[in-house]
């Protein structure tokens, strides 16, 4: 049976398809984003306070590498699917980064299924947001250079600032640190806000995402069936890479599922924003339609249940 949050997503998609006037106010959407990032960070931070940081270093290095390699694999595949060099690189940057909401859904699914997992997994999210994004941007810039020699230089300092000190990494890392420093006793008084309502807030967020994803149908039609095929076939491939990395790291079953989900998910908030700044020539409309309109629902409905199902085979 589907998780209840998936039903909220479906309600949002339906509302948009039938052209209902239902809209979530922008301030609510922003608030939900801030909340989810902080809450996920806090959860992971509580766990961090319980274990020696040094033990995590290999994991961090492994997931960073995983994220950075994704665009190198994805971009050529997208070229084969007929995308222009710049668009292929741009879209590969989205898959190199991660979707925090997809992670949140997987996390609640893992908990519901009672799979044992590394509770510091939110740390992976934080460190996986940037590397693949940056690699994808570099690929796109190289493609541009090849097409047009007098391309301006990319401002790496601005880009690093945008990504590393952007809202999502900052709140995730901030939550992790606060959780780690405050520990269980310190976090207890704010539990009623940051822990208990987590899943209900996620449900509201998915309603909003459903509204947006439902609005991507036009873009999907314009780009043809190709985009749907791409958005559905990349996740399982990437999930396999994630699960294998999890296997090498000796993760528990839940941890494998989470890492598979992270690899398989595509960013549709941070990545498009960074691309607009760094490579405006890449078609972000196409990328959002693919990441949010296809891959996100695919992971929600098919991917996550699948990854959870297969994870035990890769687990330590």
């Amino acid at each position: 049976m589907f998780d209840v949050v998936v039903l909220f997503f479906a309600l949002g998609v339906f509302a948009r398809l039938v052209k209902s006037d239902l809209r979530l106010p922008e301030a609510l959407y922003e608030t939900l984003t801030i909340y989810l990032l902080l809450a996920i960070g806090l959860k992971g931070g509580l766990e961090l306070s319980r274990q020696p940081l040094m033990d995590l270093l290999p994991q961090v290095l492994a997931v960073v590498t995983l994220g950075a390699l994704v665009p190198l694999v994805v971009a050529p595949l997208l070229r084969l699917a007929g995308l222009s060099p710049v668009d292929a690189a741009g879209l590969s940057a989205h898959y190199g980064s991660v979707s925090v909401v997809t992670f949140a859904v997987a996390l609640t699914a893992v908990q519901r299924a009672g799979l044992p997992h590394e509770a510091h997994a939110p740390l992976w999210v934080a460190v996986m947001e940037a590397p693949g994004l940056v690699v994808g941007i570099v690929l796109a810039r190289l493609a541009l250079k090849r097409a047009d020699a007098k391309q301006g230089r990319i401002r790496w300092d601005l880009l690093a600032h945008e990504v590393l000190l952007g809202k999502s990494v900052l709140l995730l890392m901030g939550g992790l640190l606060i959780g780690a420093v405050a520990g269980d006793a310190g976090v207890a008084p704010i539990k009623a806000v940051f822990i208990d309502p987590f899943k209900g807030v996620l449900a509201l967020f998915l309603l909003e995402l459903g509204l947006v994803a439902g609005g991507q149908l036009g873009a999907l039609k314009r780009h043809g069936l190709k985009l749907v095929l791409v958005g559905c076939s990349l996740p399982p491939v990437l999930a396999l890479a994630g699960a294998s990395t999890g296997h090498l790291l000796g993760l528990q079953a839940g941890g494998v599922a989470l890492l598979a989900t992270l690899a398989a998910s595509a960013s549709y908030i941070a990545a498009p924003a960074a691309l607009r700044v760094a490579v405006p020539q890449a078609n972000t409309g196409l990328a959002i339609a693919c990441a949010l309109g296809v891959t996100f629902p695919f992971n929600l409905l098919v991917g996550i249940p699948l990854y959870l199902h297969l994870a035990p085979h890769f687990a330590r």
């Binding site: 922008e26 947006v212 036009g218 498009p272 924003a273 607009r276 409309g285 959002i288």
Partner: protein, 100 residues
């Protein structure tokens, strides 16, 4: 009450451009402006995302015609090729000319 003619330059652009447009204004010694959050529509072009985060802003700056022209020229050449940006000029009159 002395009225002085000035030019109002209006820029409508995707919000991602905000920091760079403002930097452009400052570079041309225009240090005062007014920004509104707006919603836009434009004939379907090569930019077709309509994700919530895809906000649009309107920047208005009142200044001398020469300054407005210079800003417009710079914005047009640097950003118009790859970004959503529209600009237009209107004639206005102001009272305290020394402020603009």
């Amino acid at each position: 009450m002395n009225k002085h003619p000035k030019t109002k330059l209006t820029l409508v652009a995707e919000a991602a451009l905000e920091p760079r447009l403002l930097a452009e204004l400052r570079r041309h010694q225009a240090h005062a402006w007014t920004i509104s959050e707006v919603r836009g529509a434009f004939p379907e072009g090569d930019r077709d995302g309509d994700w919530e985060a895809d906000r649009t802003i309107e920047v208005k700056v009142i200044c001398d015609t020469a300054v407005a022209d210079a800003i417009a020229q710079a914005v047009l050449s640097k950003y118009a090729p790859h970004y959503s940006v529209v600009l237009y000029f209107s004639d206005v009159t102001v009272l305290r000319a020394e402020r603009y």
